[in-house]
Symmetry: C2
């Protein structure tokens, strides 16, 4: 995902936020979008992405819809109602995390 360990635990937040902006997306599309938005800084590996998507689906935060495009399978994911709520929570947690870490590494600004 990056040589930095800080991203550990961030994947769910990233997925939910992208789906919050894009209505529906499929797995491969998510990996490409992340690479693009972060200018290559962050690459989501499949081994992390697919289990994460399946877990979010199992938790009822995502709905899935299978499609066939160019004779190839695609699984479109979209937020459920509780998925939308959870997205808000996750974004608040991210903002809080950043604030807390800045208090720790830059206490002069706190």
């Amino acid at each position: 995902m990056s040589n930095s360990k800080l991203y550990k635990g961030s994947l769910t937040t990233i997925i939910l936020k992208l789906l919050n902006e894009n209505d529906k997306m499929y797995g491969y599309e998510i990996t490409q979008r992340v690479k693009e938005l972060t200018k290559g800084e962050l690459k989501i590996t499949e081994g992390a992405l697919y289990p994460a998507l399946h877990k979010l689906e199992a938790e009822g935060l995502l709905d899935v819809e299978v499609a066939k495009v160019d004779n190839r399978l695609r699984k479109y994911y979209k937020l459920t109602e509780s998925g939308t709520k959870e997205t808000v929570n996750k974004l608040e947690e991210l903002a809080e995390y950043i604030k807390t870490m800045q208090a720790l590494v830059n206490p002069k600004l706190a």
Copy 2:
């Protein structure tokens, strides 16, 4: 450490930064300082802290010095030379992480 999973992977950065500011600190002191600096938001558990300190020591980033205060054991940790270098790296990675995450969750500002 917090109900938020985002902190996973951040502990090393926190320890190194605190030792970079404070010359030497002992484990329990680190937990208290973090609680104080984050106004209770972040509580470092012992089960996470001590293994992390031992690992940093094993990697040569920290030196240890045992002391006895009020008949109780204390282990003071301080940065080695390579620990100081690694602190710079970790802080750069944190800044990069924050920048990347903001590009993802707030693309309008990017």
